[in-house]
C-alpha cells in the first residue's frame, strides 16, 4: 500500500481511488476508536462516516508536516465528542444481572469482561476515555497522543492515570473487583 502522503497527493489531484485506499487502510481503526468512545455499533459507524466525510472535505487543508494518522485520530475524537453531545447520548450502564455473573468470579482481574469494561468506559469523562482509548486500543505513545489531541505530555500522563483509577473505582463499585 502506498504511503499516506502519496495517497493524499493523488487524491488532491483528482484520484478518487486514492481516497478509497485511505479509507480502507484506516476504517477499522476509526470505527473501533469510535466504538470505544460511543459504546455501540450504530453510533460508531455514524461517527466513522462523519469522520471520513470531514477528511474528504478537509484533506486540502491537511499540513504535510503532521502525521496523517494523528490528524485522523484528532478528527475522530472531535467528531465523536460532537456526535455524543448532540445526542445527549448516555452509554447504557451495566445491568445488575451482568454484575451478578461477574461477582461469581470475583477478585480475579483476569476475568474482567469486555462488556463490563465497555460499560464502565461509558461512565468516565470523555477527555479521559479518549486518552485511554488512544493508548490501550490504538497503542499510541504519550507523544503521539499529545500530538493527536494537542495536549501536553504531562496532561496525557495524568489523564491516563486518572482514567484508570476512575475505571477501577467503577468496576469495584459494580462488584467486579475487590481490594482496590
Amino acid at each position: 500500500m502506498p504511503e499516506d502522503l502519496e495517497l493524499i497527493n493523488r487524491f488532491l489531484s483528482g484520484d478518487m481511488e486514492a481516497f478509497e485506499m485511505l479509507v480502507k487502510k484506516y476504517q477499522n481503526r476509526v470505527i473501533n476508536t469510535a466504538y470505544s468512545l460511543a459504546g455501540n455499533v450504530s453510533d460508531a459507524e455514524d461517527i466513522a462516516q462523519d469522520t471520513f466525510l470531514k477528511i474528504y472535505h478537509g484533506l486540502n487543508s491537511f499540513k504535510a508536516q503532521a502525521k496523517f494518522s494523528s490528524w485522523l485520530y484528532r478528527i475522530t475524537v472531535n467528531t465523536a465528542y460532537d456526535f455524543l453531545r448532540a445526542q445527549k447520548h448516555k452509554t447504557e450502564s451495566l445491568e445488575e444481572a451482568d454484575c451478578e455473573n461477574i461477582r461469581a468470579k470475583e477478585n480475579n482481574p483476569d476475568l474482567l469482561t469486555r462488556e463490563l469494561i465497555q460499560g464502565a468506559l461509558g461512565e468516565i469523562p470523555f477527555d479521559f476515555r479518549s486518552v485511554l482509548t488512544l493508548r490501550e486500543l490504538n497503542g499510541l505513545s504519550y507523544e503521539e497522543i499529545s500530538q493527536a489531541l494537542k495536549i501536553n505530555i504531562g496532561t496525557v500522563e495524568s489523564r491516563l492515570f486518572r482514567a484508570r483509577r476512575i475505571l477501577k473505582g467503577i468496576l469495584t463499585r459494580k462488584g467486579a473487583l475487590k481490594n482496590v
Binding site: E20, Q27, P109, L137, S141, E157, N179
Partner: protein, 148 residues
C-alpha cells in the same frame, strides 16, 4: 495504593527512562500492591485492545461514497439552479420588461401592505354596533377621531 503507582502507569506504558524502568522491574516483584495493580492494568489493556467490532468494509465504503456523491449532487444542483434561473429569465423576458414587471409587483405589494387603522378596525370588528353607523369611505376620518 503504593507511592509508586504513577510510576507503575508509565512503566506499563513503556514511557520510563531506563534507570526508572530497571527500578520498577525489581520493585513490582517485592510489592504486592503493585503486583495486584499490574494484573488489573494488564487486564484492562487486554480487554480494551480486543474490544473491536466487525464491520462490512465494502458496505461502509459504499455508504460513504453515496454520501459524498449526494453532497456533490446537492451542491451542483444549487449552483445550477441559481445560474439557470438568471439565464432563462434573461432569455425569455427582455431586461426592460422584466424591470417593469418587478416595479409593478413591488408597488402593488407596497400598496396592499398599507392598512388604515380604521379599515383594520372595521374589518376586524364586523359585529360592532359602531359599524352600523358608518359605511362610506368619506366618514372614515371622522370615525377615526371617534374611535381614538
Amino acid at each position: 495504593m503504593c507511592k509508586y503507582a504513577k510510576l507503575l502507569n508509565r512503566y506499563i506504558d513503556n514511557e520510563l527512562p531506563r534507570a526508572k524502568k530497571e527500578f520498577m522491574d525489581t520493585h513490582i516483584i517485592s510489592c504486592p500492591a503493585c503486583g495486584q495493580e499490574m494484573k488489573f492494568l494488564n487486564s484492562l489493556r487486554q480487554n480494551i485492545s480486543q474490544n473491536k467490532i466487525d464491520t462490512n468494509a465494502d458496505f461502509f465504503l459504499n455508504r460513504l461514497k453515496g454520501r459524498i456523491q449526494q453532497e456533490e449532487k446537492a451542491k451542483n444542483l444549487s449552483e445550477n439552479f441559481v445560474f439557470d434561473f438568471g439565464k432563462w429569465t434573461r432569455k425569455l423576458i427582455p431586461v426592460p420588461v422584466l424591470a417593469s414587471i418587478l416595479i409593478i409587483i413591488f408597488l402593488n405589494l407596497n400598496q396592499n401592505s398599507y392598512t388604515n387603522p380604521v379599515d383594520e378596525y372595521l374589518f376586524t370588528n364586523q359585529n360592532s354596533n359602531v359599524l352600523a353607523l358608518i359605511d362610506t369611505a368619506g366618514q372614515q376620518s371622522e370615525l377615526g377621531l371617534l374611535l381614538y
